[in-house]
Symmetry: C2
């Protein structure tokens, strides 16, 4: 009987375990996780804090019995401390040496340490584990003032959540606009405005210099003065948790992620990796990237687990359609926007338009701003960004497929679109942006 060991119980690890079992019903599939639970959605935690979802148990997607019945042997609260890849063994706290035939690393991410004095104070919250989140939710009940550190996607979600919860919320980020490493300023401006409307106090172009307090957080010192605070939610960028793999000699890439090929195989035979601990080349730029979404982690896990069990699946190059709710808007896109493309030196032509989500007279019709980037010669779509009131996820999925298949600006400019007052406007905003791109080129 083949033994497949999966290290990590998040979306990638659980996806891998399920696919391994599906591929080889006879395999002994074992998952080690540091945590008390698997099978819940950590992505939902900010919305429970924000009271948009009523309670934490709602985030639990599968019971422990479900995995037992599926023949997946999950070892909870069990740390793997070392990998011995030459002998095909993992060292497990409380279990000793455990042999494997195939190993899947799904060790996830850590938040980048803030790297300033006072980072060890009580009162700093890193959103991750659901049990810690339940404890923190009670702390938030007592909190009067909070600082959210870094305008990452999680930072946006947590600032929105705390403001919904009527906590005095300060949002601190060193960049001139929100989500500056991924988003364009015109796309994020409505989000910023809506957060201000919700009562969030913005501190952009501002660095966190220290967390202050005597054992417990009392204030955050920034480059622009002190902000008294009971809680700081640290939403620094995610970085791959590569500790075990690096020590065991698995090749690590420039982002800190484990290098994998299209089979999700690492540099070491019999060792696969998936999810936030791995890095992959972006399909357009070929630049390695990490820290994608739960959907990516789950899909990568399925490929890695299937192959670990003897399958031959390939994971496709990633174009990264993305999207999220932020303030009262939705934002999203694919690949990159104007700012990142410029920073990367990628030549592009562009079209921007503001359209609407339904007939303008229909209740609930909302603005949608679409920005399309294309290769100058071929006019093939290479990137997009969107901000709007509805339909952003579906448009980002569409544009992700458009980049993948080589759809061009003229294809989009004269696309057929659904028109029906309650659900779509006469002119699709994507088509309007493409038409504006053509017009700017004199075509």
């Amino acid at each position: 009987m083949k033994r497949i060991v999966v290290v990590g119980g998040g979306a990638a690890g659980i996806g891998a375990a399920g696919a391994a079992k599906q591929t080889d019903r006879s395999a002994d599939v074992r998952v080690y996780t540091d945590f008390e639970d698997v099978g819940y959605s950590p992505c939902g935690i900010p919305y429970v804090h924000g009271r948009e979802i009523s309670n934490f148990p709602a985030l639990i997607l599968q019971s422990k019995e479900f995995y037992e019945e599926a023949g997946i042997d999950v070892h909870y609260s069990t740390r793997v401390t070392q990998l011995d890849l030459d002998r095909n063994r993992v060292m497990v706290e409380g279990e000793g040496d455990v042999g494997y035939d195939a190993l899947v690393l799904a060790t996830g991410f850590e938040y980048e340490p803030p790297g300033v004095p006072g980072s060890d104070l009580e009162g700093l919250y890193y959103v991750k584990n659901i049990r810690r989140a339940m404890v923190w939710d009670e702390i938030l009940d007592e909190a009067k003032r909070a600082v959210v550190v870094d305008a990452t996607p999680l930072g946006l979600e947590m600032a929105t959540a705390l403001a919904h919860r009527k906590i005095e919320t300060h949002f601190v980020d060193p960049h001139p606009w929100l989500l500056a490493e991924a988003g364009d300023p015109d796309i994020l401006k409505p989000v910023e405005d809506s957060l201000v409307e919700l009562g969030v106090q913005m501190h952009l172009r501002t660095r966190v210099e220290a967390f202050l307090g005597d054992g417990k957080l009392a204030a955050v010192r920034t480059s622009d003065g002190e902000i008294p605070a009971d809680v700081a939610v640290v939403c620094t960028p995610k970085q791959p948790n590569n500790v075990l793999a690096r020590r065991a000699g698995v090749s690590i890439g420039s982002t800190g992620g484990l290098i994998v090929d299209e089979k999700m195989a690492t540099s070491r035979a019999g060792v696969w990796a998936c999810g936030d601990c791995a890095e992959l080349p972006h399909a357009v730029t070929r630049v390695p990237i990490q820290g994608l979404t739960g959907s990516h982690a789950y899909a990568q896990g399925k490929v890695a687990g299937s192959n670990a069990a003897g399958g031959g699946r390939a994971y496709r190059p990633v174009y990264v359609p993305w999207g999220m709710a932020a303030g009262k808007w939705m934002i999203g896109g694919v690949s990159f926007g104007e700012t990142l493309a410029t920073a990367l030196g990628i030549p592009f032509v562009m079209g921007v338009a503001e359209g609407i989500s339904r007939a303008r007279y229909f209740p609930g019709a909302m603005k949608i701003r679409v920005k399309l980037l294309a290769e100058p010669d071929t006019l093939r779509l290479i990137g997009a960004q969107i901000v709007g009131g509805e339909g952003v996820k579906e448009r980002a999925d569409f544009l992700g497929m458009a980049v993948y298949t080589g759809i061009t600006i003229p294809d989009l400019a004269w696309m057929e679109n659904v028109y029906s007052p309650a659900i779509g406007a006469l002119n699709e905003p994507i088509a309007l942006a493409a038409q504006n791109c053509l017009a700017s080129l004199g075509r």
Copy 2:
């Protein structure tokens, strides 16, 4: 100065006039319309009747001054009675002979006559003109019981509207399910259920045999008994209004629509046609179709008007993404579903899945059922149908482009998708349907 005459002031005619003027600023662009108004959205009328939109003026998109300022000379309430294509003249009631250099026919549609006794009674409502709609809205204030004849898209909208308005609504259609000429039974079943929930009384598999009454409608006689009614909303299929063109010798196709080429040119030199009066081959089946949407009419109008003014634009083959709100659901699709493909003898393989629109724990998450049809050999997508709670229009647009560009089931099965609890689920329903299609084929 070139004179361009446009007959018809709907979306096609107004689109044509605007594009003609844009293409040739010096042209004399004249629009003749039988009606008192242009520049409003007739598609919004059912929603005002249903009180989802508060009033009729909300449907007015452009003022009469707007067209004056744009240099478009609209002759309101002015009938064109005859075309003399040999002499490049149109006969206009009250104006006599009017010469033209280019002619655009945008004469729209008529409802198929019910063809049963009593069709001339007072109390039969054909939804079309906004001024008539205002009068009818007051009649509906007094109405106790209404019959909606035919489960066409308009029939669905009007049945929903009357039910919203708490009028006792009877929905009569000869087919075994709603929208039977375009939609599949499994897609329409939730819509039927939700209409029943709204209080609509369904009379499927039932034919209207006569409208009964003494001058004014009192009841509708059907193959399944009499239904007392104050009002009958006649939502029979749309047919091209081809009277002027046919008499003038313009070639008419099998649907009754004017035959046009990809430039929207008719069989007669210097005469273009667009919108509901024209027919076009469906891009997949090559079967001529007519009676598309306002968005198609407007886009066709722009091509026809531009070419009438000397341009050289082409209109693309149509794949017809469509969508609408119906009951408490949205439905939509592209090209055809299972039923129509079978009726047309088109070979296909299929995949169906039921997914969700957001994380299942997120408030407002709703079911989405997606059905995909593909060519058996190549697995290229050729059709789709969707019913769901949100995001149907955007998915139909996406799938329309997918059919147009030759995207395959494997492309869709392993597509990247946006995942964020508030706006999208871990697994995109389109991908799930494609995966199920592959699974059914043993791939």
